[in-house]
């Protein structure tokens, strides 16, 4: 019970689960946070209308079913009956409308996900209608692929408590918060998906991977996703621990600033693409726990398309450079310590590109500065990853369309623009997939991004923790987990 001390390790009766995550949530308002660590917690406390299944296909969530009109401009969602908030009050269509309107009206960070949504209404207590002004093919993944679209409680929001004591409808309810240390959730026995099998779920914040692993080995925690990459091999051999991985949906890439010479020349960008040994990068950053990919979308994603035009080929790279008339190229590469893989990659790439006569000078800044520099275009090249995308459009449009919000590398290709726009309008899944695959190939050919890899989602847990599954979207779900004795 709360107030009698926080469980530090396995709870006294051995029935709770302690999971170590690598950092502390900044806040627990799902609409306002953008921190990965927040979502790890919120995944278990909030629900969305629909949610991705293991195959990343959208399944019913708070909405039991939905219907799309002929013109694809009206979406009607029918909500589950008998859903209650953690405080016992009843959940209804108004809550959905309130949540969505909040995001749109307050122009919160996820407002872009409602692009094209004209109106939201609740004709009755269990129906929500979304009216669009243009067809949005991937509306489901937009509103269900991300807990930032969670349905929140109006009173909880207005009292301001949502930031630290969120009230959701999810499988676990908020119990206790120790800043800097841990958050504890307890099972929501009335959850619509069935009561969780564990009474409590504690997230501890352990930034240091070796510490997290040590704690897991010592039995202080039951689960972690914060495993030192170089130890993955060893842990997987360890009989006393379970370790599993899935090819993740995230991807990491390099982008050169095409507003600056000579990066406006595709040959230079391609030279970089040829000059890089992705395997070595993967080895250095992830100790092999990643899949090399020359496009954004991983194999496990329904939108995957195979394409790998580049091989590690310094001769070719050098030739391309020579053809572009570039010599003694110095590249200022923006990396950030908040994402250590960028720093390591920077050093690896520096050593690789040295062989084709390019000097890479990594510039390590904190992420705030990094974002600033990216926004202002003050870089030659940068590395970063995109996390948590599901739909093909999410992978390409904003990044590579001439008008894309995140096209910081200033790529502009009429053909790609056309293909991406077509992808938005296409209705058939197959046709849509083809449009995007074509666009992706073109993007890769132009080396708008130099794609590097999809990191594996690697998680480890104690064997007593049964029924846990590693998901390729990285969502950490404890709703079905059991603890064996």
């Amino acid at each position: 019970s709360p107030g009698t001390g926080v469980d530090r390790g396995l709870s006294k009766d051995g029935s709770g689960v302690v999971a170590a995550i690598a950092g502390e949530p900044d806040q627990l308002d799902p609409h306002r946070t953008s921190a990965y660590f927040s979502f790890q917690v919120l995944e278990n406390t909030f629900d969305t209308l629909v949610e991705p299944g293991e195959d990343l296909v959208m399944r019913p969530g708070l909405a039991e079913r939905w219907k799309v009109s002929e013109d694809r401009l009206t979406w009607t969602f029918t909500l589950r009956k008998g859903v209650t908030w953690h405080d016992g009050s009843t959940f209804g269509a108004d809550d959905v409308v309130y949540s969505y309107r909040r995001i749109i009206d307050e122009k919160l960070g996820n407002a872009w996900r409602f692009d094209g949504v004209k109106d939201i209404s609740a004709p009755d207590d269990s129906t929500v209608v979304l009216k669009l002004d243009k067809p949005v093919y991937n509306l489901l993944s937009r509103i269900g692929g991300h807990k930032g679209l969670a349905i929140v409680n109006k009173r909880n929001v207005e009292s301001g408590k949502i930031k630290t004591r969120p009230l959701g409808t999810g499988p676990f309810s908020f119990d206790d918060y120790n800043p800097g240390e841990s958050i504890r959730l307890k099972a929501n026995s009335r959850w619509w998906g069935g009561a969780p099998k564990i009474p409590s779920l504690t997230f501890r914040f352990i930034p240091e991977p070796t510490t997290a692993l040590a704690d897991l080995e010592a039995g202080e925690i039951n689960w972690t996703d914060n495993i030192p990459p170089q130890q993955v091999e060893r842990v997987s051999q360890n009989e006393d621990l379970e370790l599993d991985s899935a090819v993740g949906n995230d991807y990491w890439y390099l982008a050169a600033n095409q507003d600056r010479r000579p990066f406006d020349d595709p040959r230079v960008r391609k030279a970089i693409a040829y000059g890089i040994d992705r395997k070595a990068v993967v080895q250095a950053t992830q100790y092999g726990n990643a899949t090399v990919n020359q496009l954004a979308i991983p194999k496990t994603n329904p939108w995957y398309a195979a394409y790998s035009p580049y091989s590690h080929n310094t001769r070719r790279a050098a030739k391309l450079l020579a053809a572009a008339g570039v010599r003694d190229l110095k590249i200022d590469m923006l990396v950030t310590k908040e994402y250590p893989e960028t720093v390591i990659t920077g050093q690896v790439i520096a050593s690789q590109l040295e062989k084709i006569g390019i000097t890479v000078q990594p510039r390590e800044v904190d992420f705030a500065t990094w974002l600033d520099k990216q926004g202002k275009g003050e870089f030659d090249m940068l590395m970063l990853g995109w996390l948590g995308n599901l739909d093909a459009e999410d992978f390409y449009y904003a990044q590579h369309h001439s008008d894309g919000d995140f096209n910081f590398q200033k790529y502009s290709s009429p053909e790609v623009d056309r293909l991406l726009e077509a992808g938005q309008k296409e209705t058939g899944k197959k046709a849509r997939k083809d449009r995007y695959a074509e666009a992706a190939r073109k993007i890769a050919d132009d080396a708008s991004y130099v794609y590097l890899y999809n990191p594996d989602v690697v998680q480890a847990w104690a064997p007593q923790l049964e029924n846990y599954k590693v998901r390729s979207d990285g969502a950490v779900r404890f709703r079905d987990v059991r603890l064996a004795d």
Binding site: D26, G109, K163, P179
Partner: protein, 314 residues
């Protein structure tokens, strides 16, 4: 006493105002934008503007400053950009971790430094003195965070005796607290202790050679009394200064140690807040730390006056 306190408080207010000006200026010179950080990687320009004005960042700097100082006087340090919590609350949550680490470290430092320094001074020139001097010289030169890393390597990774990091409030679990505080506190405590040892030694040495100590000896007082009543006591003023400086530094949060040991103290909070451009938290934390610093130096001055009647604080 009252007058002294008032005068010092006045001085403190001036210094604190200066501190706010400096942090405020620095923080607003920093490139990077708290709004961008808060929004993450995907957002629209409208969202950006909305959050910016909600955080009051669209007002002129001067008006932001005066607004800040004005409400700071009433104890309202604003709201964290990142968590939306009141800064005062955020700071109060972190304060126990920092203070308990500082306290443990100071205990270790003083408990080792005092006897060692006095012993070395009273055995000047002997082997034992040399050993103390060498060891304290080592202590002064060792990077405390490296010491911390070595401790983790040894006591956690290799021997598995102690948890490598984390924090448990003392009030909830004293044993857990102790097992976690011991490594960081020892790492910083030994360094502070080494510094203090050297000051204790030289202050006691000087006091030993003083003419009034000679008078005390000439009175035929026993050596123990000469040392305690005349030598050590008179050496206290410089020693207290140094202990005060060390305590102030520790209370400000030993950032690097807190990072190494994942200690949720003020230092790490501030460091993270700088990275996230969470201005209100940075400002609040610096203000708090500066206040602690000023309180410590005031306490040191009061202690002086208790020890030394020549210092009048009427």
């Amino acid at each position: 006493m009252l007058r002294f306190s008032l005068a010092r408080a006045g001085h403190a207010v001036v210094v604190l105002l200066g501190v706010t000006v400096v942090v405020f200026t620095l923080m607003h010179l920093v490139p990077g934008d708290p709004v961008r950080v808060a929004l993450g990687t995907q957002y629209t320009p409208e969202s950006y503007e909305a959050l910016r004005s909600a955080s009051g960042l669209d007002r002129p700097l001067i008006s932001q400053y005066f607004h800040y100082v004005g409400s700071a006087f009433t104890g309202d340090l604003g709201v964290s950009f990142r968590t939306g919590e009141p800064v005062t609350l955020v700071l109060l949550e972190r304060l126990p971790a920092t203070l308990s680490l500082a306290f443990a470290a100071m205990v270790i430092a003083v408990v080792t430094a005092f006897p060692l320094g006095v012993y070395a001074a009273t055995h000047q020139g002997r082997i034992s003195d040399t050993i103390v001097r060498v060891v304290s010289q080592f202590g002064v030169s060792v990077p405390d965070f490296w010491l911390g890393i070595l401790f983790i390597l040894l006591f956690s990774s290799t021997l598995g005796w102690l948890p490598p990091s984390g924090y448990v409030p003392l009030t909830e679990d004293p044993v857990g607290w102790l097992s976690r505080v011991i490594m960081p506190a020892t790492a910083v405590g030994l360094v502070s202790g080494a510094i203090i040892t050297r000051f204790v030694r030289s202050a006691v040495l000087e006091s030993l050679g003083s003419e009034h100590a000679r008078t005390a000896r000439a009175k035929g007082l026993r050596r123990r009394i000469v040392r305690s009543r005349h030598v050590v006591r008179n050496a206290m003023v410089p020693i207290i200064t140094v202990i005060g400086v060390q305590a102030a530094i520790l209370m400000g949060g030993v950032i690097v140690i807190e990072v190494v040991f994942a200690w949720p103290g003020l230092g790490r909070l501030t460091f993270d807040a700088v990275s996230a451009r969470d201005y209100p938290v940075v400002q609040g934390a610096v203000l708090l730390v500066a206040t602690l610093f000023l309180l410590v130096s005031m306490a040191v001055d009061l202690l002086y006056a208790r020890i030394d009647p020549r210092i009048s604080i009427r």
